[in-house]
Symmetry: C2
Subunit: 197 residues, 2 copies
Amino acid sequence: MSSSGDIEALIEMMARLPGLGPRSARRAVLQMIRKKELMLIPLADLMHHVGASVRDCVECGNIGSSTICDICANEKRATGEICVVEDVADLWALERSGVFRGRYHVLGGTLSALDAVGPDELRIPKLIQRVQDEAVSEVILALNATVDGQTTAHYIADQLEGRVRLTSLAQGVPIGGELDYLDDGTITAALRARKDL
Amino acid sequence: MSSSGDIEALIEMMARLPGLGPRSARRAVLQMIRKKELMLIPLADLMHHVGASVRDCVECGNIGSSTICDICANEKRATGEICVVEDVADLWALERSGVFRGRYHVLGGTLSALDAVGPDELRIPKLIQRVQDEAVSEVILALNATVDGQTTAHYIADQLEGRVRLTSLAQGVPIGGELDYLDDGTITAALRARKDL
């Protein structure tokens, strides 16, 4: 009796993860139970391990196992450039491209009047402090191209104006993108930022 | 360093679950880490708990916390009817409908010449033994309407013929189904099994 309750509870909790619904959570739980030694137990062990060791980097807000994350602790990463992102998922996306060799700053969200998120709820004061304390030459605002993301970018640009070079990601046609499928805003941005060949 | 490795390992393992890919696994793991006390730790605890307690019912092959599952242990469930299903997911689907009040028998798969799955790899001998030992009046073959499922149903029907009433699920138009979207096989089956009003 109790285990069926536990299995139900496990399915319900799995179903709350993004990307999983009740049906796929049931399939996932059954799969894990079928491969108990290969999936369920190792996954539970890993989760405990991550849960016990994970913490936010005091410098940039990235997650890692110590108070300074791997990127901030890596002396090969340039200290002069800080790439500002909304959250860790964005940092991971940039790291996958492998093209940026500087440091990051994870805000932990965007400014939002509706949700009462002000600069102090984000890591904006810490960013301003880093720009003052470290020899930062450029701050790249890699925020999402949403209203909240752009509002936050403008706020940060206001705060840092004159102290450091401020840049943002280019907007335009994505690689492999077909004009026919792009929204008007993207096409407008791509046209305005057109380049000489 | 080690925790980033652990987080990567956790994402890789989550990505192997059905219904999750690398991208959704990353999102799920980030979500779990953000809600560490509400998601990651309780989920790990539940998985350990389920992993330690779950076992197959010796009677029917359903999963539960003891050697006899909740359904087989429930004296209110009719012993005269056995519903034969391929796996536990199918049993759950039938239980959700709530209409069947007998017992189940989970085969654990289907006969398959390609994958070298014979009757002894499934729980078919145990099913035949149950039909002999228990006062079974009807065996409902609720196997999937696939080639392997129907081959297995035919094999079981051959083995049990004459000893017990054998039935299978009706085939036809699903509730809410639109003819225009149904495959030819379903329409053919529905036409052949048409009923007088």
